[in-house]
Amino acid sequence: LQVFDEEGKDVTPHPLFHADPNTVVPRQGKRLASTVHLGATGSGSSSTSISNASTAESTSDETAEPGSRRDTTSLADVQVRREEIEEELTKEDLDRRVDIYLSETETLWILEMPPDVVSVESEAAGRVVERNKIYVDICKTRPGNDRFVEKTMQTINGAAKNKEVQCDRIIMEDKGVMVTSWDLSDSFYGLAIEPTSKAEGGRATSGKSSKSRTAKEHEQTSIHSAYHCSTTSSPVISDSAALARTHEEEQCPSEAILRSENFQQHLFFMERILMENIFQPKLAAYRQFPVLIDPDVTSDTSGTAAAVKEAEQEEHDRGKKEEQKEAFTDPSILSDLNKTPEETVPPRLEWLWSYRCDLTNGHSVSSMAWSKVNPDLLAVGYGAFDFKEQKKGLACCWSLKNPMWPERIFRCEHGVTALDFSTSSPNLLAVGTYDGSVAIYDVRSCKDAALLASSESSNKHTGPVWQLRWVEQDRGATGDSKKERLICISADGQVTEWLIQKRLDCPDLVKIKRTESEKKKLPGEKGRKCEVLISQQAAGMCFDFHPKDTNCYLVGTEEGHIHKCSCSCSEQFLETYRGHKGPVYKVTWNPFSTDTFLSCSADWSVILWYQDSQRPILTFTSTSAFVHDITWSPKSAFVFAAANESRVEIWDLSVNIFNPVTSCLASPRGKFTSVLFAKNTDCLLAGDGEGGVSVFEVQNLPAPNSNEVRCTR
C-alpha cells in the first residue's frame, strides 16, 4: 500500500511493527511483486527497513507467480533481493522451469529463561547442592545470631481522596403491551404477505408521520399497517397509495373517513340492519317462519322455513321471543299461521309491506319481474299506460333486505312498460319503454346508464313495447345448446327478436341489431269472419311462450283476438281465439296443465281457454273494471291472481269458479296495475298506480293435492 504526496514522494507511513527482516523477506517479496502491477511511476516498498527509493519498477504481471520469486537461501541483503526481483519478466520466463530450494534458517532465540533448577547429574549440581546446604545452615543459626538484625518497614499510606460522581437522572418509562394472538398473527402475516410494500409503507409513514397514525394506540398500529399492506397489490401502487393516504389523512382525516369506501359499506350494513329491525316480523312472515307468542315454547324454526338464507333471521326469531312487548304488529293475526291450513278458515291476503320510496311516488307500476337467480331481487318498472300521463320512467331493483330504498335505480327517458331479467346472464335486465326502444342494463353496476340501448337503431319499434321476455330456445340447427333470445312485442304489431351483437363485456353502447326473420304482421279482422287476412297491422299487447314447446307462442292483440303462432312459420297463425271484446292485456299459459291458458282484457273479464278449442271455456268476471294483469300461481294449477283496477283477487278454480276466493282492496284512489307471485314463498306482489309495490301474504290457501290436470268442463 503506497501513499504519495504531490511531488511523488512516497510518504507511506511506516508500520509500527518491525519484524526481523530475515524472516519477513519472503513475504515481502511477494507483496512487492503484487503491488507493482499498477505500473505506478514511483513505487517503493513498504518494507520496514528499506527506504523508499523510487526506482522505476518494471511492470510485472499482476499475478506474480511464485516462480518469479527467488528462493531465500541466504541471509542476503534485502537490496539484493529487490534487485533480483527487478528483473524483467518475459513470457518465456513464465514458462521457464524454475527451481526452488528450501532450506532451514538459523535458529532464532526469542526468549531465554534459564531454569532455577538443575539436574542432579549436571556438573554444576555439586556446587548447587553445597550452596543449598550453606543456606540452610545459615537459616538455622538465624534466631540468635548477631549477624541478623530485625528491621521493620512501613509502606507509605497514600492519602485517600474521595471522589463522587453523579450522573444525570435516567428517565425511565414503563411501556406495556397486551399481546394478543391476533396481534402476533397480524405482524406475522403482514410481514409474510407483503414485505416490500410494508417497507415502503413504513418509509412513507416515517417520512410523513401523520399525527393520526402516530397517535394510535400500539395495538392499533400493527393492525393498521398490516391491513394497509394487505390491501395493496403491488409495492409501487402501495407506495403512492400510502403516500396519498397519509397525505390525505394529514389534511382532513374526517373527510377521508367519510369518503372512504369502507365507510360506505358500513353505512350500507347499518341501513340494512335497521331495515331488518323495522321489518323483521314482516320479513319473518314472508319467509314463513312461525311466529311464536309464548316465550316458554322453544322455537323450531327450521322445520317450516322455506328458504333460510340469512342467519340473522333465525337469531331474530329467537330474539323475538324475548321482546314480545315491542311487537310491531298484532301477533294475533299472525298466530293464524300456527294452525295448519284447513278448509274452514278462508284464505286471506295479509298486507306485509310495500316497496315504496320518495323516488317512486307518483309513478305508476307497469311491470315487475323476479330475478332468475336471486328470488329476493325484484325489478320494477315504472311508467304510465296512458298516453296522457307520460313522464320519465324508472326501473328499480328492490331487494328484500331493504324495503325502503331500491338497490339500483335506472332512469329512463320514457316510461318503462316492460322488463325482464335474463336467465343465462342473470345480471342483465332488459327494459322496454314507451317510445319503443329496448335497453339492457347490467344490475351489477350502480351506474345509471344502460349497457345497450336500441334508441339509435333504425329498426326499432314505433310503438310502445308492451312486453318483453328472455326466452330460452333450442336453436335446433346450430347445436343443442339453449340460447336465449330477447323477444318483445309492441304496439306497432311486430313481434321481434333482438340479437345482441357484442357480448356485454364492453361498456360502450352498442347497437342492437334486429333480425327480420320474425317480423310478424298481425292482421286485424273486420267483422267476424275467420278466413280473411287483412294486411292491416294490429297492435300486439302481450305474448307468452309455451312452457314446454318453445316454438309456439300466443299473442294477444288490441282487438281482442289471441293468436297462436309458431316460430317456424311466420306468415300464418296456427289458431285464433276469439272471445274478448277489448284489448287483451295479458295471456299466460298454465304452468302445470300446459294445454290451458288464461287471458285478461279490458272488457272486465278473464277467460280460460283450452288450446284446442277456439271458444272460451270459462269466463271470470268479478267487477266492472279493467283487468290489467293476471298471473298463475307457481304452486297450484288452479290458482291465479288478477289485478283489477281497484282490487287484487285470487281465484281458486278448484274451489269456486264464480267468485274469487279472496280479494284485497286498494286505497280508494289507487289502482292495481300488475301482480306477481313470489316463487319461494306464499306471497303476492301487487303494483299500484302510486308507485308502490305491496307485498301480501297469502294465507290459508289450500295446497294442491295433485298435479293432475283437471279439465274444467
Binding site: W182, F269, M270, G319
Partner: protein
C-alpha cells in the same frame, strides 16, 4: 361521496332512529346528530367496547374481524358498525 351523504341522511331520517355518530379511529366523533357532550360520551364508551369486542373476536380466530355490534337494552338498541378506521353508531328507539 354523494351516495354516502344520501345513505347517511336516509338512516338518520328513519322513524325510530334517535341519532347517529361517526367516530374516527381515535374515538373522536366527527359527525353526529347529537349534542356534543352526549356524542363524546357515547363515543368514548362505545369505542372502548368496540375495541374490546374486536380483540375478543380476533383472539378466537385471527383471521376473523368484527363487523357489527348490537347492544339491546330495555329502552334502546345501539348498533355499531365497526371498521378499521371509523366506527358508526346508530341508536334506535324501539317503536311500539
Amino acid at each position: 361521496q354523494a351516495e354516502v351523504e344520501e345513505t347517511l341522511r336516509r338512516i338518520q331520517g328513519h322513524r325510530g332512529v334517535i341519532g347517529t355518530i361517526v367516530i374516527n379511529a381515535e374515538g373522536i366523533p366527527i359527525r353526529t346528530t347529537f349534542d356534543n357532550s352526549t356524542a363524546v360520551q357515547y363515543a368514548g364508551l362505545l369505542h372502548e367496547l368496540t375495541m374490546k369486542a374486536r380483540s375478543a373476536v380476533r383472539a378466537l380466530d385471527p383471521e376473523n374481524d368484527l363487523t357489527f355490534l348490537r347492544i339491546r337494552s330495555k329502552k334502546h338498541e345501539i348498533m355499531v358498525a365497526a371498521g378499521n378506521i371509523s366506527i358508526k353508531i346508530t341508536i334506535e328507539l324501539y317503536v311500539l
